[in-house]
Amino acid sequence: MSVLSEYSPKRYLKVSLFLTVMAIAVYFAMKACRVDLASMFESLFTNGDVYLRFIDLDWSTLWHMVKAAAVTVLLAALATPLAACLSIIVAIAGARNISKPWFRLPARISLGLERALPDTVVLFVFIAAFGLGVFPAVFALALGSLGMLGKLWADGIEEVDDKSLEAIRANGGSLWQSIRYGIIPQVMPAIISNSIFRFEVNVRAATVLGGLAGVGIGYELSRAYSLLEYGRMGMAILVIVVVVHLCERFSGFARGKLLISGGLE
């Protein structure tokens, strides 16, 4: 009967109650933070000429910006495979069906801790260790991806069809053979697909983290901002939008190809 009760008017009552509570919460939150909608809109429109200055692009910096963007993409391209390889190992240690509790718990806990840590905090730790540059950015990106990919794949391994693993064991297969022939074939399409998606996310993250570490297009943007060179900033933003969009297209295309050839559907 519980299935049918979902269609009763009570359900709409619940939804409207939820929306009312949300609206009240938003109102009080704005009050607490002293958000003044009126002055916010005012400053949004009175300084209209600022936007015009952005649009007046400084085309002479185009090549420079493209090179900086390439560095940013490179950060993501280095960090993603690094994270992917490391997270497979952590995931194998953290999956209930193939690991032992004394491997599993530390693996799961460290993945959880890693996810709880904001990427910028990780970055500053690495900057303290390596100084500004490419290394801290790559490591921070990789570690940021590791937490998510590791959990995703550990869960994926736990969902693998137990019966096929049992068949491998019954045929005399060892643990590592059941990983090779049972688990890898079943989780590989998801692993590759998620890695490509993560690359796309990392390109975006590399813009910010790279900027903080002093490399790439993010750094160019923040430098142009501090010098108030709006033309340069506009150019940097344009290049970022184009590059991120291209990476997104690439990621979508590659994952689509993979799903077809991997025979998921």
Binding site: S164, A167, A170, N171, G173, S174, R180, P185, G263
Partner: protein, 269 residues
């Protein structure tokens, strides 16, 4: 070859799944295992393989080199070596869906392959050729490149059979190997199993008394975790009704040509 003695399996809550199962299978025998759904047939086979640990009792398996292994006491590594000699066909078939048919067949030999080799370069050409031969025997050679998930139930069943024969074991355990097949293919598989049994031994679960009567050399019936019959494969209809319980007594039990029993038990998965 195989001696099961007083095998018991009790759940923590006290429910008795196996209640003192004893039987043996000698070389050259094709033993049919039969019994109602939930009787403990699959569980018995799992205990023989060491996949489930029995509460008490013993399973002794004699490998071709003449050594006797007490499967219940073996460690994981030793189990691996014993399992090399036992070919299994599971009730759920248990193929790796994302691998090709040929790879699924080759998995049968993993016990004889060093794990390091599996990771470095996988299977050899010779193994692939042998696997292909095994597929030919079950008329599945044209499917070799297909991925397992794209097969029909009966096709998967034949791949599972090829996986066991490819292994060239000295003992076969088959859990309902013909349950998903049409009568023609079922007969073909029974013939293959009967042929294999001449040089090895086969212990198979079947839900078709007529097939058992025709191909097996002996039949063991299990009911409620106990062996209730062990002997001539041509079971009398009375005995069959006894094994399968009251529900079937209303069903008409007819005997064709005085020999062949009509199929009267629905094959349940």
């Amino acid at each position: 070859m195989l001696r099961v003695q007083d095998l018991c399996k009790t759940l923590p809550n006290g429910r008795k799944l196996l209640n003192g199962i004893s039987f043996s299978v000698e070389k050259g025998e094709f033993v049919g295992l039969l019994g109602p759904s939930g009787a403990g047939k699959s569980l018995t086979l799992r205990c023989v393989l060491g996949l489930t640990s029995a509460t008490s009792g013993s399973v002794d398996f004699e490998s071709p080199d003449g050594n006797t292994h007490s499967i219940c006491d073996l460690r994981q590594n030793q189990l691996r070596r014993v399992r090399c000699h036992i070919g299994v066909i599971f009730q759920g078939l248990n193929l790796v869906q994302q691998l090709t048919v040929l790879e699924n067949v080759m998995i049968g030999k993993l016990g004889c392959i060093h794990p390091l080799r599996s990771w470095l370069y996988g299977f050899t050409d010779r193994e692939a050729r042998e696997a292909f031969e095994a597929l030919k025997e079950v008329n599945m050679e044209s499917f070799a490149e297909r991925r397992a998930y794209s097969l029909s139930g009966g096709e998967m069943q034949r791949v599972a059979i090829a996986r066991a024969t490819f292994q060239k074991p000295s003992f076969y355990l088959a859990d309902e190997p013909v349950s998903n097949l049409d009568p023609k293919n079922a007969k073909a598989i029974m013939k293959i199993l009967a042929q294999l049994a001449k040089k090895t031994s086969v212990l198979g679960v079947f839900h078709q008394p007529d097939l058992i009567a025709k191909y097996c050399t002996r039949v063991i019936a299990i009911k409620g975790g106990e062996v209730v019959y062990n002997g001539d494969p041509k079971i009398s209809p009375r005995k069959l009704a006894d094994i399968y319980g009251d529900e079937l007594q209303e069903l008409e039990i007819s005997q064709q040509n005085g020999q062949e029993l009509k199929q009267m038990v629905p094959a349940t998965g």
